[in-house]
Amino acid sequence: MSSTVLITIISLSLLAFMSAVILYFVAQKFKVYEDPRIDEVQAALPAANCGGCGFAGCRNMAEALVKADSFDGLNCPVGGAPVMAEAARILGKIAPVVDPTVAVLKCNGSPEFRPKTSSYNGASECRITASLYIGETDCSYGCLGNGDCERACAFDALHMNIATGLPEISDDKCVSCGACVKACPRNLIELRKKAKKDRKIYVACSNCDKGGPARKACKVACIACTKCQKVCAFNAITIENNLAYIDATKCTFCRKCAGECPTNSILELNFPPKKPKIEAEAETANV
């Protein structure tokens, strides 16, 4: 009885020892060298794995950062400047300054401005609705309101507003990963340069129709009247395909264009309330 136990212990120990020896040599032979800095950089990244940098996840981004000669074109929108500076410190490189961005919705077609002309009760996904037909309103460019962007957002930054039927983006939560941009079948979401105090001024419309049909479909549609372009002193506004666009890198937030817009399609957000009109005019005259 005791001899059986003994034999078992000895034979198994021998087997284990032999395997260990073989495995040691195999491990030496097939060792893969991995730069230890990849782990370090990965630890510095936010671990959101959102894909906002263009890579599949934070690990791939870390590998790319370690491999890259310079940081140009590599940016973690979630972590922003502090994270990139930390990665640069680990790797002994310089992180270029990248302006933080935030998502904005280029449509303001709530039911009060854009009346419903039909009702849809099929599969409630924007990508399906868009391939089927124009949507519940007469605007073939605007928000379909089925919330593909909301489902795409992994940061709880985007929620559908039931009253307006449009998504609302909370600036403090948005990390500008671009998931909603990809999810929107009508390309309504843009990542715009962030400004002080989350101030924003942008054309909240994507309608490329001529003025008449655009206005008919929605009261706050851009009709490409070029008034904003004319009033802009900084050449920040371009008009293409019957649609105005404000370049966030050139815009100085003078807010003149918003006042000119006859359809109120230019939205100004997070500004202090405007002074009474006469004073404001006097002020501009003094300047």
Binding site: I128, L132, Y133, I134
Partner: protein
């Protein structure tokens, strides 16, 4: 036993309300909107300008490339503008707007009622005439017919199949055409046979149209090579691949065309249009449209000029009933709801159905209960529940491996689903993404 296709299929309530109502000519409207893209393939290029006077049958937009079709004016009058106009999906497309003045036809069109049987044109000339006359498949898909009549070298067609199935519920336009224009259709079939150089043509008609079967069989006796075959009533028998399987028991492989098994399928409406184009020199500018619905006071089958606003048709049929929930362009199974009654009648529009409110609402979506009814109903041997899940989760590579592109969007799966799941909606999404993926792959 009547012939039919063996796999899948459903039998929705037929509701052929207008089967006994003769075709009525709709008065020419005051203005028409003629879209330049009424067919599968590249849109035609407008060749008229604002202010031009046009005659009935004149080319107003010429086809661009091989898979395209000419567009002809369906009225005489003045071109008021060339602008964007919403199509039945609501998206705006280029169209020619014409204000009607009189009804002045081109002199080249033979308007006599005589039926001309002997064919003077050679096969090549017939194909050319179809191309010039803008003939497209009249069954609904609107695929340019001259493409189907051009047999590529190395392939051989030995039988022409004529689709008189009309398996969609409600629609009766092909049925009426067979009853009233049987001889013209058969003369058209003879022309198609000559163009394809075949000596055999088979007309498939579902058994719910006994009068059409009897009439066509009697008429076919005086034409050589044409036989009429009654088929069991089953949707979607009017689909090319199903009809080929039912009639000649050949199976078109996945991703291939009927021509790969030696068959070409044309609709009876197309045969009629080909007859008019070849023997009467009349391009395709009018068609039969069934206007029907349970609430309509005067439903019927109307011969309508292309470009007539839908609202004119509905007015003639008694106006929109108060409880209408949806207006469908096409059949109830494959048709699509229109967003606006100002949209024009196009070449591929076989019917307009006004569905009452309570019937137009889709079922509430509930979880899949794994009953596999959709699998049994699918005529293409696919697994709709799986394809839907794959598309929902963006797994398009797997959807491709599951042959999502074989789906012809007949809707049998959604029709049969006891849980009200929007199977076809998602399969269509998967299909379009897979096609996009394949196109990108080919570019690389």
């Amino acid at each position: 036993m009547l012939k039919t296709f063996p796999i899948g299929g459903v039998h929705p309530p037929e509701n052929k309300l207008t089967a006994d109502i003769p075709i009525e000519y709709l008065p020419v409207p005051e203005n028409v909107i003629i879209p330049v893209s009424q067919h599968i393939g590249s849109p035609a290029n407008p060749v008229v300008a604002k202010g031009d006077t046009v005659k009935v049958g004149q080319v107003i937009a010429s086809g661009k490339g091989f898979v395209s079709a000419n567009i002809h004016s369906s009225v005489s009058g003045k071109v008021s503008k060339i602008d964007l106009a919403p199509d039945s999906s609501g998206y705006r497309q280029t169209a020619v707007f014409i204000d009607v003045e009189g009804d002045d036809w081109l002199d080249t069109i033979d308007r006599s009622p005589d039926i001309v049987r002997d064919i003077k044109l050679s096969p090549e000339e017939i194909v050319k005439r179809c191309l010039e006359s803008g003939i497209v498949g009249m069954g609904g898909a609107a695929f340019p017919s001259h493409v189907k009549l051009t047999v590529p070298s190395g392939k051989k067609c030995d039988v022409l199949i004529i689709n008189g199935v009309e398996c969609e519920p409600y629609l009766t336009s092909d049925h009426r055409l067979m009853l009233e224009r049987g001889e013209q259709i058969l003369a058209g079939v003879t022309i198609l046979m000559k163009a394809l150089k075949v000596d055999k043509a088979m007309i498939g008609i579902e058994n719910n149209k006994p009068d059409a079967i009897a009439g066509m069989t009697r008429l076919a006796e005086s034409f050589s090579g044409i036989t009429v075959h009654p088929l069991k009533v089953k949707y979607p028998q009017g689909a090319e691949k199903q009809l080929i399987k039912a009639l000649i028991n050949r199976e078109v492989p996945s991703g291939r065309l009927p021509l790969d098994v030696g068959a070409v399928v044309h609709n009876v409406g197309t045969a009629h249009a080909v007859y008019e184009a070849v023997q009467k020199n009349k391009p395709l500018f009018e068609r039969v449209v069934t206007v029907t619905g349970k609430g309509l006071t005067k439903p019927g089958n109307f011969m309508v000029r292309i470009g007539t606003p839908l609202v004119k048709l509905i007015e003639t049929a008694g106006g929109i009933p108060g409880n209408t929930g949806k207006i469908i362009n096409g059949g109830p199974m494959m048709g699509k709801a229109v967003t606006n009654t100002d949209v024009p009648v196009v070449k591929g529009m076989s019917g307009v159905i006004l569905v009452p409110g309570e019937e137009s609402v889709r079922e509430r979506i509930r979880p899949c209960i794994r009953c596999a009814k959709c699998v049994s109903a699918c005529p293409m041997n696919l697994e709709p529940y799986l394809l839907m899940s794959l598309a929902e989760r963006n797994l398009f590579e797997r959807a491709e491996a599951e042959r999502v592109t074989d789906c012809m969007e007949c809707g049998s799966c959604s029709f049969t689903c006891p849980a009200g799941r929007p199977l076809l909606d998602y399969i269509r999404l998967g299909k379009s993404n897979v096609i996009k993926m394949a196109r990108q792959r080919n570019l690389k």
